[in-house]
Amino acid sequence: MSLWLTLAVNSIALGGLLFLLSSGFSLIFGLMRIPNLMHGSFFMLGAYFGVTLLARGVNFWLAALISAAAMAVIGGLIERFLLRRLAGEQLPQVLLTLGFAFIISDVCLMLWTGDPWQPATPAHLRGTVQVAGLYFPLFRLVIVVVAAVIAIALWLMVDWTRLGAMIRAGVDDAPIARVVGIKVSQLFTLVFALGAALAAFGGVMGAPFLSVYPGLDFEMLPLALIVVILGGTGSLLGALVGSFLIGFLYNFGQALFPDLAYVILFLPMLLILVLRPQGLFGRVVP
C-alpha cells in the first residue's frame, strides 16, 4: 500500500477517534456550556481502564463498554455533586475541571507508571480487507464504522427523539423547560455522563492505535478544542467534519513536515477564527 493511502487511512481512523472524543466535548461545552477541561483525562483514564481489562483477557468490545460505563458513572458523579453547585459560573467550573484533570493525570501516572501501554489489536480485528483492489487494515476501518454508527445515533438522539428535544429545550431555556415538567438537572447529568462515556470508549478504541501514556490527556484536550472551534460548538455535524479535517491535517502534517505538525494544526483554527468565529457549522449565539 502506498504511503499516501496509508496516511489517508490513518487520518480517517484518527478522525473517527477524534469524533468520539469531541462529540462528547461538543455536547458538554456546546449544549450545557460547561468548559470541561477534564475531557482529555476521560479519554486517557478510559483508555487505561480498557488496557487493564484487556491485559486480564477481557474481550475487546466488553472492555470498551465496561470502561465507558465506569467513566459515565465517574463523570455523572462529578457533575452531580461538584459541577452542579457551580451552575452558570464558568471560571470556577474551569478551575474545578482543571483541578480534576491534574489529579487524574497524577493518579494515572502513579497507578499505571510512566511507561506506555499498547495492547495488541484484538485477534478478530487484525488483518486486512480488500476493497476495490486495495488492502486496508481492518482495525482502522472498524474505528471509522464505529464512529459513523455513533455519529448517526447521536444525531438521531439529539434531533429526532423526545429525549433530544428535552435536552435542547433544557439548554435553550432551562427555567421554562422545568416549568413544563422536564427534569433539566437529571438530563444534564445524563449528557455529561454520555460525553464522558464516549470519550472513554474512544480511548479504548484508540489504545491499540495510539497507545496509552502519561500526557495523552493534555494532548487530546487541545485536539478536541480545535475540532470544536473549527466545527462550531454544539454542532455534531461540525464535530464530525472538524474531526476528519484535523485527522487528515495531523497525519499528513506529521508525515510531511514533522517539525511543524502543530503549526499546521493551528492554521485552520486561525482561519476559522478570523473568517467565521462561530465555526463552520456553529450557530450564532445571541
Partner: protein, 332 residues
C-alpha cells in the same frame, strides 16, 4: 488619614525587608526562593491584568512566558549578546501576544479561555516537537547570566537584586496602569462592556492593549526565569505552568495588586515544600484548586481582609460599645 499613613509605613517596612533580605536570610537557597517568588509574582501580576482587571481568563500565558525564554536562549545560541537576546525576546513575545489578542478576542468569556488554551498548547507543541529548532525535550542551556553595567548576576544575591528591581518596576507599572484612564476603562469593559461601547469606548482596542501589556510583562518574567535557571525546556510552557500562574492570581485574590504577589509566594513556597516530601505536585495543585473553589472562591487576600475587618470592627464595637456612633459603611 491614619489608614493612608499606616499603609505608607507598611509599604516602607516591606521595602526595607525586601531590600535587606539577602542580609538577614543569608543562606543562598532561601535567597533563590525569594528570587523565584518575585519572578513568578511578575507573571502573576501580568496575568492578573487580564483575569482581574479585564475579566478575561487566559490559560495560555505560560506559552508567552516560555516564548520569551526560548527566543532569548535561541538568540544567545546564535551568538548574539545578552542585550540583543533580551530585546529580541521581548519583541517576539509582544508580537506573539498581538497574535494571541487578535485570535482570542474573537470570543469573550469561556471562548476566550478555550482559544488561549488551544494557542498555548500549540506553542508548547512547537517547543516540544520542533526539535531541530528548540532541541525538543532536552531543552536549551544558557551558559552565562548577563552582567548589566558590569555587575555580574551569577551570585544568588546579585540575581535577587536584579529580580527585585524588575519586580518593583513591574509593581509600580501595574499600579499606575490600574489607575490610568486605560486601566479604569479596562475595568469598565469587564463590568459593563455594552455600556462602554455605548459611551464610545473601543472595547476591542482596550482589551487588545491589555493583552499586549500583559504579554510584555509575561515576557519579562520569562526572561528572568530563563536567566534564573540558565535552562529552558518545553515543560515551562505547558498547561501546568499556565494553571499554576492562574492559581497564584486566584488564590491570592484577582483584581488586587497584592493578591497575585501573595499567591505567587504561597504557590512557590508550597511547591518547594511539597516537592521536598513527595513528587506529586500536580495532585496537590489539583486538590488546592478544588479546595479553593469549594471554600474560598474570592481568594486568600480579599478573604483575609474581609475577615480582619470584620474582626477589628467587632473588637472596636465592643470597646466603644457604650458610645453611640454612626455605622461606617465600607464598600466591599
Amino acid at each position: 488619614m491614619t489608614s493612608v499613613s499606616t499603609r505608607r509605613v507598611l509599604i516602607a517596612f516591606i521595602l526595607v525587608a525586601l531590600v535587606s533580605l539577602p542580609l538577614w536570610v543569608g543562606n543562598s537557597y532561601y535567597i533563590n526562593i525569594a528570587s523565584q517568588i518575585l519572578l513568578w509574582a511578575i507573571l502573576a501580576l501580568a496575568l492578573n491584568v487580564l483575569v482581574g482587571y479585564a475579566g478575561l481568563t487566559s490559560l495560555g500565558h505560560a506559552s508567552l512566558f516560555a516564548m520569551a525564554g526560548y527566543a532569548a536562549a535561541l538568540s544567545l545560541a546564535a551568538g548574539h549578546n545578552h542585550l540583543t537576546a533580551c530585546v529580541t525576546a521581548l519583541v517576539a513575545t509582544v508580537a506573539m501576544s498581538k497574535v494571541f489578542a487578535v485570535l482570542a478576542l474573537r470570543a469573550t468569556g469561556i471562548g476566550f479561555l478555550m482559544i488561549t488554551l488551544a494557542i498555548g498548547q500549540i506553542l508548547w507543541g512547537i517547543a516540544y516537537r520542533w526539535a531541530s529548532l528548540t532541541n525538543g525535550d532536552n531543552g536549551i542551556n544558557v551558559a552565562t547570566r548577563p552582567a548589566p553595567f558590569g555587575i555580574s548576576l551569577s551570585s544568588a544575591p546579585a540575581f535577587y537584586y536584579a529580580t527585585l528591581i524588575t519586580f518593583l518596576v513591574a509593581v509600580v507599572t501595574m499600579a499606575t496602569f490600574a489607575r490610568s484612564p486605560l486601566g479604569v476603562s479596562l475595568a469598565g469593559t469587564r463590568d459593563q462592556a455594552r455600556r462602554m461601547t455605548a459611551l464610545g469606548y473601543n472595547v476591542w482596542l482596550i482589551r487588545y492593549l491589555a493583552i499586549v501589556f500583559s504579554g510584555f510583562w509575561s515576557g519579562v518574567a520569562g526572561l528572568l526565569f530563563l536567566y534564573y535557571n540558565q535552562f529552558i525546556s518545553p515543560q515551562v510552557g505547558a498547561l501546568t505552568t499556565s494553571a499554576e500562574a492562574l492559581l497564584m492570581v486566584i488564590s491570592g485574590g484577582s483584581g488586587t495588586l497584592l493578591g497575585p504577589i501573595v499567591g505567587a509566594a504561597i504557590v512557590v513556597i508550597m511547591k518547594n515544600v511539597v516537592s521536598a516530601y513527595i513528587e506529586r505536585w500536580n495532585l496537590v495543585l489539583g486538590v488546592i484548586f478544588i479546595l479553593i473553589i469549594s471554600f474560598m472562591p474570592e481568594g486568600l487576600v480579599p478573604g483575609s481582609v474581609r475577615l480582619w475587618r470584620a474582626a477589628s470592627q467587632s473588637v472596636r464595637a465592643r470597646l466603644n460599645g457604650w458610645v453611640a456612633r454612626p455605622a461606617r459603611e465600607r464598600s466591599p
